[in-house]
Structure formats: structure tokens, C-alpha cells
Point group: C2
Chain length 328, copies 2
């Protein structure tokens, strides 16, 4: 399989991307590593790197990266973190993100990764590979650390701030497929983030979403969960609108800094270092796209490549397409 | 001044209320304690206890409470924590909460405190003493611990789950008065809880609330704050709808349990023991009403009485009335 990587995205580009590729290749290219499979056949991951060719070549050499599975596609422009997504994609057609999406749309790579401008990655996804037919709102989720050491999945984590009940129902379906295939959680429990335990509680959105989730045969809905349940193992997939989700995510992300500044050393609180999880996929679009945090370091890039590989291997996009066809 | 206390509310009633009263009286009735003042004159706090008279008398004696400022009003019924508020208040007219509100409405007490059924306390407030004219939605806030040891004020913390922009504007005004008078924060900074820093970000509610807050001359609006800012000292009053606020509050409340179970000992994380703050006032109604957490222990009751006393002393309700008259 072929995975495209935006080398110019993120605060430490392209250095940390190169270091992440080195980490990935060291594990992936050794004989004893668990190879990914496609259609039951072992599949080497070939990496297509989009960015400043000379700079990337120098760094690959400096860090002694095995380049046997690497191809560099030189691009001359960079979309900065604070640029307006639509405008930047239109004006910077030779940017690493724009060219990467071109490759993805043409099938020249099977997945595309970036730790760059999230808005540009979303717009690029929606305009180049597009939303899956029947999916109203592609979405992004977020990992949530749990006291028992497991990970939960919060969805939507900030893309769709105003939602309809049907959107939340689709987030639940998308999240369930992701949790089952990528987080390896069998029959994941879906919880609706709400401000009370019983059906009928909550704001108008939550009240209307509850019966939809309850009646959906493709998910395992277990009821409402509250703010106090987020870090407990009460539901595997936690569904909410992107406004609520983004506030929860950023609040959770802030805990790691607090814990570090207070000099607290604890296995559970270490899980709040979100960087370790790598990026998250845009769910509901026609190809695997992984978006990483701007502050991504080597380990995050390695993990993003791994998640992209798993998304291709398990054909998560195909499963989502099928779930939409089957309907709720 | 006279403060009414529902002795039958909370998970440990009436024992913890009695212990809280003892703590309060030990500080308040000694000569060297800082007496509260009303109209510039020192004012002893007289306590009116509503509940099972015989039981309360026994406990007061057992705990050797100074009863020189205490009067017991015997009531024969109790509104349980899980009862339907409106129904319970209607059917249990001799409950401690119903009788307490009767005293408050008639001016026989100046403030009323309960750690009982929050819904019944809200309904009781709205039906007996009523919302201040011009206040669309009375509200409840919550203390938020900050890394620098100070406290922030989150408002609405769960009463009004669906809000209009004008509601958020009033929450900001109510919260500012509370923060200035009770938390002693001069010219408190108001932040709008949102999912981006710049004006124009957020869901439709936040987008519409921003200009109202910006143009309001009676508050010190400092812009949007994000989930990561909640535990930092970025704004003193943090405004949001009650759905968002309740999720933030319950998530924050859950941190104390996590920290305890992980055996983390830290001054900052100790601040997440919300019980220490006592109750919170219903803001926007015609008399001071304080609602405590169901699990309130002695210290919480003591603090609730203190807050009620300060609300009366500073005439917070009068200030709110004035702010509504002046308009925004």
C-alpha cells in the first residue's frame, strides 16, 4: 500500500516527520515486524513524502533513514497553520497538502497524513475525495484516557459545532466502526454525552438524539453518560456535537500540562499526553485521511502512519460505505 | 439577619447540617469573629431550622451546639432527592423545603439554604420568591479551581440547557456581580466559553453571544476562552449554556476522585474537592437562595450559611435588580 505524508505540516516540520518515518521504518521494514496485509496478502507500506525535496533528502540522510520504501514528491509551497483553508488551498496549488490530496484523489496513494492546518485538511478532504454518499457531516474524533488504562473515543471532537440529531446518530455509527476496527473493541458501547442519566434529560439536541440512537440496530447504545463518566470506562464511543466535544477535548488536553507543572508522576495521568496517540482520521470521507496535532513529534508521526496503514488494511472506509447503504 | 436552613436536605441530613451549624456558630458567635453587617451595623445571624423538630433538638444537644441564635420550625414531610420537583412541592406542603420558601417569601427569613433536591429548590425559588423582573432565566454557577490557587466562576452550570444569546449576556452580568461581591474580584474578567479564540468562532449561540457581551458596558468582557483555559486564570467569569457548563462541572468534579484513587497529593488538585466551597446561589431571583450538593458535609453547610450571610450583607439581589433596571 502507499501512504502519503505531508512533510511540511506541524510546528516542527519537516524534521519530526523524518524522525517519525525513521521510527516507523525501523519497525516496519524488519523481518520480524508484523507486516500489514491487504486482501489477506502481506503488504509493504510505501511512503510518498510531499514537501521541500532537497531539505527532506538532507534530513533523511542525516538521520540515516532506510529509504527503500520512500519516494519524495517535491512541492514548492507550504500552507501555514493560520492560513484560511479554502483560500490557501486555492492559491497554493503546489503546496504539500494540495499535491497530496491530488495523489489521494487519483489513487496514487491510498491514504494521506498531515500534522498541518486542520482546516485545510478538512476542506481538502471534502473537495478532493469528498464525503461518502449518505454521510451528512464527516467528522473527527479524539481519544479519551480512561482510569482503567483503556482508551475511549469522543466524537465529534470539534468539526461540526452545530449538529442535528441525525448527525449524532451518524457519528455514533462512524465511531463504532472506528472503535471496533482500529481500537479493537468488540461491539463497542455507545454513550450519549448528556447532563442526566435518564432518557428525556438534556438539551433539545440530546433529547432528540436519544431515541435515534436507541433504535439504531447497527450500534450498541447504552444510554446517556455525564461529564463525570468521560474518564471512566462507561462507554467506548462517546457521542456529542463538536462544540461540546471540542471543549471536552481541550480541557482533557490541558490536564497533561497541569499534571506536569504540579510535578505529578502517574501512569494514568501520563495518558493525557495526547501526542502519543498520533493523529485521528477524518471519518465519513472516501479515503483514509489522518490529521495530527500541530505539535506532533516523531512518535506521533510514526503512530499516524500506523493508523493510516490499519485504516487501509481493514478497509474502514469500505465498511462505512456499507453501513450507510444498509441504513439504520 | 435571619437565615433559613432546610435540615432534611442532602444525603447525610440532618446530622451534617447540625455539625455545620456548630462549626458556623463556633466562629460566628465568638466575640473576636468578624461579624456580618447590615446597613453598616453589625448583625448577628439568627438561624431558622426547618425539619424534624425532635430529631434536630436531640442532635443539637448531642453535639453541644450553642442554640442562642437558633429557632426550630418543625415540619412533618421531606422531599426526597429523586422526587419530581413540581409534584413534590405541591403535594408536600409541610415539607422542610416548602415551609422554608414560605418563610422566605413572607420575609420571615432573609435567605434560604438547602442541600436537598436541586429541582425542588429551583422550582420553589421560581414559584415562591420569583425571578427578578427583567431576568429571563435565573441561573446557578459553579466554582472552578485555577492553577494559581484562585477560583473562577462558571455560569450557567446546568440549569438552562438550551439558551439564547441574551441569556448568556445576563449570565455574564449576574456572574460579574457575584464574582465582585462574593468572590471579591474587582472588575471581573468575563470570558465566553468557545471553541476558538477569535470573534466569529464557535457554534451559532457563541457567535451571536459574542457581540452582545462585547457591547455590554456593565461587564468587563475579555473575549473567548477555550476548554484548555478553564483551569487557568484567563477569565474570572466563564459564560456558557447550562448543557456545556454541566458537562464541564461534572468532569471537573470527577477529577478529585481520580486524583484520590491515583493517590496523588497536591495542593492544586485538592481544590477539586468541590464540597469545600459550600453551595451556590440561585442568581436572578428576588431573595438569596443557596443550593448545596447532596453529599454536603459539615464544612459545606458552614460555608453555605456564610455565603448566604454575605449575599444578605452585600445586598447582591438589590445590585442585580439595579443592573437589570439600568439595562445593558
Amino acid at each position: 500500500m502507499n501512504i502519503g505524508i505531508d512533510m511540511m505540516g506541524g510546528d516542527f516540520a519537516p524534521l519530526e516527520a523524518v524522525k517519525g518515518i525513521k521510527l516507523f521504518n525501523e519497525a516496519h521494514l524488519t523481518v520480524d515486524s508484523s507486516q500489514l496485509t491487504v486482501n489477506g496478502q502481506p503488504s509493504t507500506v510505501n511512503l510518498a513524502l510531499f514537501g521541500d525535496k532537497a531539505h527532506i533528502e538532507t534530513l533523511l540522510k542525516e538521520h540515516a533513514v532506510d529509504t527503500s520504501n520512500i519516494k519524495i514528491i517535491g512541492t514548492s509551497q507550504v500552507i501555514e497553520m493560520d492560513e484560511h483553508p479554502t483560500k490557501a488551498l486555492k492559491e497554493k496549488q503546489d503546496s504539500s497538502i494540495a499535491v497530496g490530496f491530488g495523489y489521494l484523489a487519483k489513487g496514487m496513494v491510498d491514504a494521506f497524513i498531515s500534522a498541518g492546518n486542520t482546516g485545510a485538511m478538512m476542506v481538502g478532504s471534502l473537495f478532493s475525495i469528498k464525503a461518502i454518499e449518505g454521510i451528512h457531516r464527516p467528522t473527527i474524533g479524539a481519544y479519551m484516557p480512561r482510569e482503567n488504562g483503556k482508551l475511549g473515543w469522543l466524537i465529534d471532537a470539534g468539526i461540526n459545532s452545530d449538529c442535528k440529531p441525525e448527525n449524532l446518530e451518524q457519528f455514533a455509527m462512524l465511531g463504532s466502526i472506528f472503535a471496533e476496527q482500529i481500537l479493537n473493541i468488540e461491539n463497542p458501547r455507545v454513550g450519549l454525552i448528556n447532563i442526566g442519566e435518564e432518557e428525556g434529560k438534556g438539551n433539545l439536541l440530546a433529547q432528540a438524539a436519544y431515541p435515534l440512537l436507541k433504535e439504531n440496530k447497527h450500534i450498541h447504545f447504552t444510554g446517556n453518560i455525564e461529564g463525570r463518566d468521560i474518564f471512566l470506562d462507561k462507554a467506548d464511543v462517546m457521542v456529542c456535537d463538536g462544540f461540546t466535544g471540542n471543549i471536552i477535548l481541550k480541557l482533557a488536553e490541558s490536564i497533561h500540562g497541569l499534571v506536569q507543572r504540579r510535578n505529578v508522576h502517574d501512569e494514568f495521568f501520563d495518558m493525557f499526553e495526547f501526542e502519543q496517540y498520533g493523529g485521528v482520521p477524518v471519518l465519513g470521507v472516501n479515503k483514509p485521511v489522518i490529521i495530527g496535532h500541530g505539535i506532533s513529534h516523531a512518535k506521533a508521526f510514526k503512530n499516524m502512519i500506523t493508523i493510516a496503514g490499519k485504516m487501509v488494511e481493514k478497509d474502514v472506509v469500505g465498511m462505512i460505505k456499507k453501513s450507510v447503504t444498509v441504513g439504520s
